[in-house]
Symmetry: none
Subunit: 183 residues, 4 copies
C-alpha cells in the first residue's frame, strides 16, 4: 500500500529523500500510479496522517470509560493506546514535521484539535474541578506539551512509564492544588 510505503521510506530516510519514485518502488507500483491516487507528494503524507489518526481513534474508542476508572488509570489507558499502536509513532511524527507543505500543517493542527476535543469530552464527563483559569487554553497547551513529550520519546522509556508521567502532568496541571505555590 502506498501510504504505508511512504511511512516506511520516511522513517528510514527523511522527507527530502522520500522521493515519490522511492515510495512507488517500495509500494511495488509505478510512480504514475502514485499520482493516480494522490495529487502531489504532500497529499500522500496527509493521507498517512489521516491513517495514523484513524487508527488512534480506533484505539481510543476501545477504551472502556466508566466512573469506576480513576483519572490516572484512564489517562494512562489513553496514552498507552496512542503509544502502543505503533512503536515508531514518535519517530514518524517527528519526521512528518519535516513536510514543508502548508496544507499539511493545517491538517496537522486540525488533527490536534480533534484530539483536544476528545480529551475535553472525556474530562467533562467526569465532573472534575479544574483549577486552571482558561480551560480551553490549558487544553491546547496540554496537547502541545504531550505532543512534545511524545515526539521526543526514545526507546529507553517504557510506554507505561511514559504514560504515567504524561498522565501525572495532565492531572496535576489541570486539577492540581497549588495554593501553597501560588499565594
Amino acid at each position: 500500500m502506498i501510504i504505508e510505503a511512504a511511512a516506511q521510506v520516511l522513517l528510514e530516510r527523511d522527507y527530502a529523500a522520500s522521493s515519490t519514485n522511492r515510495i512507488a518502488e517500495r509500494a511495488g507500483v509505478s510512480v504514475g500510479s502514485v499520482y493516480q491516487y494522490f495529487d502531489n507528494k504532500a497529499e500522500i503524507y496527509e493521507a498517512a496522517l489521516d491513517d495514523y489518526f484513524e487508527q488512534l481513534v480506533t484505539q481510543l474508542n476501545s477504551i472502556k470509560i466508566d466512573t469506576e476508572t480513576s483519572n490516572i488509570a484512564l489517562s494512562e489507558a489513553i496514552i498507552v493506546a496512542a503509544y502502543r499502536y505503533w512503536p515508531d509513532g514518535p519517530a514518524f511524527l517527528r519526521k512528518l514535521r519535516q513536510v514543508p507543505d502548508a496544507h499539511f500543517h493545517e491538517k496537522l493542527q486540525q488533527t490536534k484539535a480533534q484530539i483536544a476535543n476528545f480529551v475535553r469530552y472525556t474530562l467533562m464527563q467526569r465532573n472534575e474541578v479544574f483549577t486552571v483559569q482558561d480551560f480551553d487554553l490549558s487544553l491546547k497547551i496540554l496537547i502541545d506539551a504531550i505532543e512534545g513529550i511524545f515526539i521526543n520519546a526514545t526507546a529507553d522509556i517504557t510506554p507505561e512509564r511514559l504514560a504515567r508521567e504524561m498522565s501525572l502532568l495532565l492531572n496535576r496541571y489541570l486539577m492540581g492544588n497549588v495554593s501553597n505555590l501560588d499565594p
Copy 2:
C-alpha cells in the same frame, strides 16, 4: 550576516526552499563566501541554533534570582526571557526541526540537555520538595513538554500568558500534591 540571512529565509520559506544560493543572496554575499564560513548547509543551521541558544543564555543570566522571588515569578521570568528575545522563536524552532542532518539533531539534543541542566540547577538552589519519582526523567519530560508548547505557540497568546501556563505546568508537575487524585 549569513546566519541571520539563513534564519530569515528559513522563516519565510522552509528548509528545502532555503537554498544556499538563496541564503547567500539574502546575506548579500556569494555562495562561495557561504562555503568559506560553513562546510555545508546543515552547518549554517547548526550555527543558527548555537546563536539562538547563546542569546537565550544571555537572557537567562540577566535574570535576578534570589530567595525573595517566588517560584512562579521565577519560572515566568525565565520563560518570558526565552520568549521575548525573538518573537519568531517558536516558528524558527519549528522550521529548524525540518533540518534533515543527523549531526544537527545531535546538537539539538545537546542544547536541550544544557537547558535541562540550567533548570535543574536553578531548582536545586531553592530547596523544594519534588513529588515526582524520578526527578531526572521528569526534567527531561518537562523540557520536551515546554518545547512542544513553545514550538506550537501562536501570536494570539501573549508571552506573559504563555509563560504563566508553562510555569504552572512546571510547578504543578514537579511539586504538586496529587494525593486526592491518585488514591
Copy 3:
C-alpha cells in the same frame, strides 16, 4: 544515442568540459534521461569504452586467420582493423585517459588484458619461437607499447603505414634474433 554524444563531446572538448548537461543536449535528451541510463558520469564513459572494445572485437573476429597468412600480414590486418573502425580512435582513447574515476581505470586495464589474451591466443596458434625470456611480461609490455603508439598517432600517417610499423615492432620484439646485439 547518449554514449555516442558523450564520445563526440569528449572529442571536441575534454573530460572536464564534457558536462552531463552538454552530453544530454548533444544527445537530444534531458539530463534526467542520462541519469536514467547511467548512474553517474564516469559510467557513461565506461559504456563508451565497452562499446569501443566491442566494435574492436567485431572487427578482429572478421579477420580470416589461417596458416597461409604471414605473421606480418596478420598483425597488420589486426592493427588496421583496430585503426580503421574509428579514425578518431587515438584521440578518443587519449581523452578517455582523462576520466578520473578509479573504477573506469580498472575497466581500462581489464580491457587491455582482454586484448592481450586475444594476441596471446593468436600467436600461440602459430607455433612461433619466441626469443623473449618472459612471454607474459613481454606481452603486457607490448600492449602498453602499442597503446602508446596508437594513442599518439596523428593523421599524417596512414593506418597502413602505422600498422606496418606496429607489426614490425611486435614481430621483432617477440621473435627477433639479437645474438649480434647482445653478446
Copy 4:
C-alpha cells in the same frame, strides 16, 4: 615549492581535484602567491613538466657514453636513469595526461621531440645499421611506445627489468633482422 606541491597533490588526487587552493595550501603559500608566479593552473603543470624533463636531462647527461659500452648496456642505462629519478614518474605522467589545456599538450609533444632528438643523437654516434625504412618515423613511434610502457609501469616490475625489455624492444625494432619473419 609550488611546483612540487602541485605534483604531490596531482599524485594524491587527480587533475580536477588538484585545485589551486589545495596546491597553495600544500606549498604553504596563499593562492594569490601562486598566481603571482603562474598565470593559470595549466602553467603550473607546464612548469612541473619542465622540471621533470630538466631532471631527466641531468640524469641522462651523467651517463658515460663511450664506444666500449654495448648498445644494450647503454639503452638500459638511459632508461634506468629516467625511471630511477622519480619512482612515481609513471603515475605522475599518467596524471599529467589529464591536464586539459591545449598549450600544455603542445609542450608535452615538444618535450617528447627533445627526447627523440637525444635518442637520435646518441644512436647516430654509434654507427649502427638501422633496418627500418624511415628512421625518423620509427624514432617517433619508438618514443611513443616507450612512453606507453613507462606510463603503464607498475611497481611489481623492477626498473632494471623494465629497462631491459625497453632496451630489447628498441634494439630489436631499430636494428633487428627479420628476413626470416617477412619473406
